[in-house]
């Protein structure tokens, strides 16, 4: 595995810092070499920026990648949206000399140049690759007795031709990482369906976004799980903040705790929910927190 730079995006540092902390704790425990990426900006948010102007998207994305090229590290993302934005930009620029040239013309204005020397990784596919679920299982100090509704999200595995991570209808790699912590990944209808946040829909059409979300939440609730686990802070925001919004606007309370994988793994490595910022979610489910305390 190459050395990594930790790319934070927006939502993790600016809304759910627990995910940032949990990620760092897990990477440290796994002895994975990562460094900060000072000065990184919005990836930029693919749902919006790719909907507005391709050149701008490529310019901002490539700048973030260049910061990592400059310190000779691959980019590690912890968010499907950032992953989609950066990995697609990276590939397009690497494969299209004309786009690379025009993007570098913009980067030139800030004295930077995209070379195409690093890769972009997502923490889920990275951990599956190395050390792998078997190794992670061995390192778990506190196996979790939890029923988990896993949400892969969209941009981790799609578009499949670019991602090359296998099946998009029934992938198993994230489930294996969850099961490595001792938790059970529970199957539920529309497990692979979108949370409804992406593509600028949550920003501009919040009510419709919440309808899509509620469909997922009701399926997840029917599956009788302890929590939802995701790989994307934007899905995390949608599931967490969205439950509060649904309670306000539509009157239904779901009260299902939402964890990013780094937080689930952090729990399995023995960290407390407070250390991992799980108690800072908008949906606080006391039963869940008690259960976690009880298991220690």
């Amino acid at each position: 595995m190459n050395k990594l730079s930790l790319y934070l995006g927006c939502i993790t540092p600016n809304r759910y810092p627990g995910i940032e902390k949990a990620t760092k704790l897990c990477l440290d425990r796994l002895e994975i070499d990562y460094a900060d990426l000072p000065g990184a900006s919005c990836c930029p948010a693919p749902g919006v920026f790719r909907s507005f102007d391709k050149a701008t998207w490529l310019a901002l994305a490539s700048r973030n990648i260049v910061l990592s090229e400059e310190i000779e590290r691959d980019v590690l993302t912890i968010c499907n949206g950032c992953y989609g934005s950066l990995v697609d930009a990276n590939n397009e620029l690497k494969n299209d000399p004309a786009l690379k040239k025009s993007t570098n013309a913009h980067l030139d204005a800030i004295g930077k140049k995209f070379k195409g020397t690093v890769d972009v990784r997502h923490i889920i596919e990275l951990l599956y690759d190395e050390p792998g679920p078997e190794k992670i299982k061995e390192m778990v100090t506190r196996p979790l007795d939890l029923r988990v509704a896993l949400h892969y999200g969209c941009h981790l595995v799609k578009p499949s031709k670019e991602r090359e991570l296998g099946s998009t209808e029934d992938p198993r790699f994230f489930d294996e990482l969850v099961e490595a912590t001792g938790a059970e990944s529970v199957n539920y209808p529309d497990k692979m369906a979108c949370c409804g946040a992406g593509g600028g829909v949550r920003s501009a059409l919040i009510d419709k976004s919440l309808e899509m979300l509620e469909h997922k939440l009701s399926r997840i609730r029917d599956a009788n799980v302890d929590c939802i686990v995701n790989a994307c802070p934007f899905c995390h925001l949608q599931f967490d903040g969205g439950q509060v919004e649904i309670a306000e606007k539509r009157g239904t309370e779901y009260n299902i705790p939402v964890l990013h994988y780094s937080q689930l793994l952090g729990l399995a490595f023995g960290y407390s929910p407070e250390e991992l910022g799980i108690d800072l979610n908008l949906v606080t489910n006391e039963d869940f927190l008690l259960k976690l305390k009880g298991d220690r």
Binding site: S167, E169, D170, P189
Partner: protein, 759 residues
């Protein structure tokens, strides 16, 4: 042996050639060549006017040799040669050079295409100057036909031929009837499949001229058209077909249900043991009063001779699991249309009752069309043709079983083409079958129902509906083993996997191999009516082919000159044992032309260079290369007939490649030596390629050595030489190789040119 009266005829091919290649300019230039007495350009040389022109020119004594520049010789060479012979010249003195499939159709740059064509025609003229009159050798054909595949197409072909000659019919399953015996009622008449098929199956079994081998496949094929020697491999049944009376006492006694009759009407009507389940207790042997059990049965190899082979290997369906969101493997009531059909056919295991796995009747049934068909993404591009109608038939059957059932067919287009089909569709609608125009997006097992998600595109409404049973109509593909069989027979297979007809429209039951014929779904999905029609056609073609009694063998055979010193190397090296040393003191080599495969190995290995292949002599090959390169630098590609077919396929598909490529067809690349190849370099070839398409291991096993030797011996020229093996269907691979090599050659030539400028 040069002549002064070569006629050069170039065809515009109605623009197919003429719009790209400036044939008039070439005719003009070539008219000045030594030996050319007359040139002529026509719009359609193959027309009676075109051929008539050549014929009269010969008869008038204007010309006595003919070079034609036109479409691939594979199409009309025989026709033209027959005309030439009729007009009074030796047919070998007429040759066609390919300026369509291998030139105008594959090069967009008109200037380059014309330059290439000019070279090809000049090369052909140079070659023609030196050609010899040869007389074809005839051999007797073996008047027996082999039919591979015992479905409706194979059965029909066999029955159509059996009154006239012996037919061997082989089938890999333990019973004949193919897919058709697994059908219930057949569209559009809804007559029962077994009722119309069983009499034919019985007729095959009883016909004195048909030898039926079940559980049998082709292991290997040797020989050539009209004279094949085929090794069949037959899997053991463990029951003697002749002795078995199908009384069933064995099955009653078997503790493991290992011995069974495939189904009640199976032909051969004999039991079979599944050795995986069998515990060898011998209960069946004890129970059998006919003494038919053969527990020591084993795999058998059977040698058969025949003159013609028919590929009637039919189709199978894909595994619909490739469309994961249809969850085929996740619920037992999501079935394929073939499983639906079996449930209500003679092969039924439910007493011909349509039922869910819980035994109840499915009240609400959905048919999902185009599962893996018309799918450029995950499935196959082609339409499977019969599903629109058979799904309607199956829907009609559901209504017959339960008039108030609820049946929906989800489709993209409802293709009810041809006679009686639209009326069938009308009837399906009027009995109440619901048609929803929308390709199913998902089939989800949900609670205890099956949820189908779709858009009703005619209403513009997204919907979800629940069903008790979902029938997936899967893409139909050639059956397993058909590609391997095609390779064994030297017959190309299309990009879609189906066997290639000789000509899609006007020669649909022949293949590129004279002695190999096709019928049925092996050559494309179709209904029973069309399979039977093709089978009757194939039987007729075979009858014509074998009926002649003889077949001409090409006369391009080794000729041994006086320079021979009787060393015997040729006889030793010949992979076919076609040369024998006869006489005292070692003797002189004598050729058996019918065993000879014109590989040319004898010519290449002779230490005295005393052997030349008639009409592929070193002089002729060198003259041809020289003529071709007279038009400027190019890549000379020596190509054998099997690979030549791939190059033609590229032309038919209009796959573009570098115009530097100049093919020289040879019977086999093994007749090449450093003298011939070196001369090509000397004449201006920027690179040389050897492309081999034959799958004959006797030859391909020597190709690596041939290549290393030629590379070494032409090292001094410092020019690239490459060898590649291409199967006939792999025209895209061939094109990639040609393009990559041409780029290398062009780059090298440019570098050299630059260097020369600098010097």
């Amino acid at each position: 042996m040069s002549s002064e009266k070569i006629g050069v005829y170039l065809c515009r091919c109605g623009g197919n050639i003429g719009d790209v290649v400036d044939v008039e300019a070439i005719a003009d230039e070539v008219s000045g060549m030594n030996g050319v007495a007359h040139t002529n350009v026509q719009d359609y040389l193959c027309s009676s006017a075109g051929q008539g022109q050549i014929e009269s020119d010969i008869k008038e004594g204007l010309i006595d040799r003919v070079v034609i520049g036109s479409c691939s010789p594979k199409l009309h060479l025989e026709t033209f040669r027959a005309m030439a012979q009729k007009a009074g010249i030796n047919p070998m003195l007429l040759e066609i050079t390919n300026i369509r499939e291998q030139c105008s159709w594959v090069h967009e740059d008109c200037e380059e295409a014309t330059r290439k064509a000019r070279g090809l025609v000049k090369g052909a003229v140079s070659r023609m100057q030196n050609l010899a009159s040869l007389n074809p050798i005839t051999k007797d054909v073996k008047d027996r036909a082999l039919v591979v595949g015992g479905g409706i197409a194979g059965i029909t072909t066999a029955l159509e031929m059996a009154d006239e000659r012996e037919v061997i019919l082989i089938e890999k399953a333990p019973y004949i009837g193919g897919q058709m015996i697994g059908l219930s009622k057949t569209f559009p008449t809804l007559d029962c499949s077994q009722c119309i098929l069983t009499p034919k199956m019985v007729a095959v079994f009883n016909h004195p001229n048909i030898m039926l081998y079940t559980q049998t496949e082709v292991a290997s094929v040797e020989g050539s058209a009209g004279d094949y020697s085929v090794t069949l491999r037959r899997a053991p049944r463990y029951v003697d077909i002749e002795a078995c009376t199908s009384c069933g006492r064995c099955a009653a006694k078997c503790p493991k249900d290992a011995i069974y009759l495939p189904f009640a009407q199976a032909i051969p009507q004999a039991y079979i043991i599944d050795r995986e389940l069998c515990i060898e207790c011998g209960a069946c042997e004890k129970a059998c009063s006919a003494g038919a059990i053969r527990l020591d049965d084993c795999e058998e190899e059977i040698q058969v001779d025949c003159g013609a082979i028919t590929i009637a290997t039919g189709f199978e369906s894909i595994d619909p699991s490739i469309i994961e969101e249809y969850h085929y493997k996740d619920h037992p009531d999501i079935i394929t249309a073939i499983e639906f059909e079996e449930m209500v056919s003679a092969k039924s295991k439910t007493g011909m009752r349509l039922q869910k796995t819980d035994g109840t009747f499915p009240e609400r049934v959905a048919f999902v069309l185009c599962v893996g068909s018309r799918d450029f993404n995950r499935g196959n591009k082609h339409c499977s043709k019969v599903c629109c109608i058979y799904s309607q038939k199956q829907a009609q059957l559901v209504y017959k079983m339960k008039p108030d059932a609820d049946v929906t067919i989800f489709y993209i287009d409802m293709r009810s083409a041809g006679r009686r089909m639209e009326e069938f569709y009308h009837h399906t609608q009027e009995i109440g079958v619901n048609f929803v125009r929308g390709r199913v997006a998902e089939v989800n097992p949900l609670d205890d129902k099956l949820q189908v998600r779709y858009e009703d595109t005619l209403l513009g409404e997204i919907g979800e509906a629940e069903f008790d049973m979902v029938v997936l109509c899967p893409s139909l593909i050639p059956s397993k083993g058909s590609r391997e069989l095609a390779d064994q027979l030297g017959v190309p297979v299309g990009g879609d996997g189906f066997i290639e007809e000789k000509h899609v429209k006007i020669d649909p039951v022949n293949t590129l191999n004279q002695g190999v014929f096709v019928a049925g779904c092996a050559v494309g999905p179709k209904d029973i009516h069309d399979s039977v029609t093709e089978a009757i056609g194939a039987a007729h073609k075979i009858h014509q082919f074998l009926g002649k009694g003889t077949i001409s063998v090409s006369p391009e055979k080794p000729v041994i000159s006086d320079a021979c010193d009787g060393c015997g190397t040729c006889a030793l090296e010949c992979p076919y044992g076609a040369l024998t040393m006869i006489g005292e003191d070692g003797g002189t080599p004598v050729l058996d032309p019918l065993s000879c495969n014109t590989c040319g190995i004898c010519a290449a290995v002779c230490p005295q260079s005393a052997i030349e292949i008639a009409n592929y002599t070193r002089e002729q090959l060198k003259a041809q290369a020289e003529g071709i390169l007279d038009a400027g630098m190019g890549v000379i590609v020596y190509i054998d007939p099997a690979a030549y077919a791939a190059a033609d396929l590229a032309g038919v598909n209009r796959t573009q490649y570098s115009p530097l490529i100049r093919f020289i067809q040879v019977p086999s690349i093994h007749l090449l030596d450093a003298d011939i190849v070196g001369h090509a370099f000397e004449s201006g070839a920027g690179g040389v390629m050897l492309i081999e398409g034959t799958t004959d291991e006797a030859l391909t096993s020597r190709s690596k050595d041939l290549y290393s030797r030629l590379k070494k011996e032409t090292k001094a020229f410092k020019l690239p030489i490459r060898y590649s093996h291409i199967e006939t269907a792999q025209y895209e691979k061939l094109m990639n190789l040609l393009n990559v090599f041409s780029e290398q050659v062009a780059a090298k030539a440019a570098k050299k040119g630059k260097k020369r400028k600098e010097e």
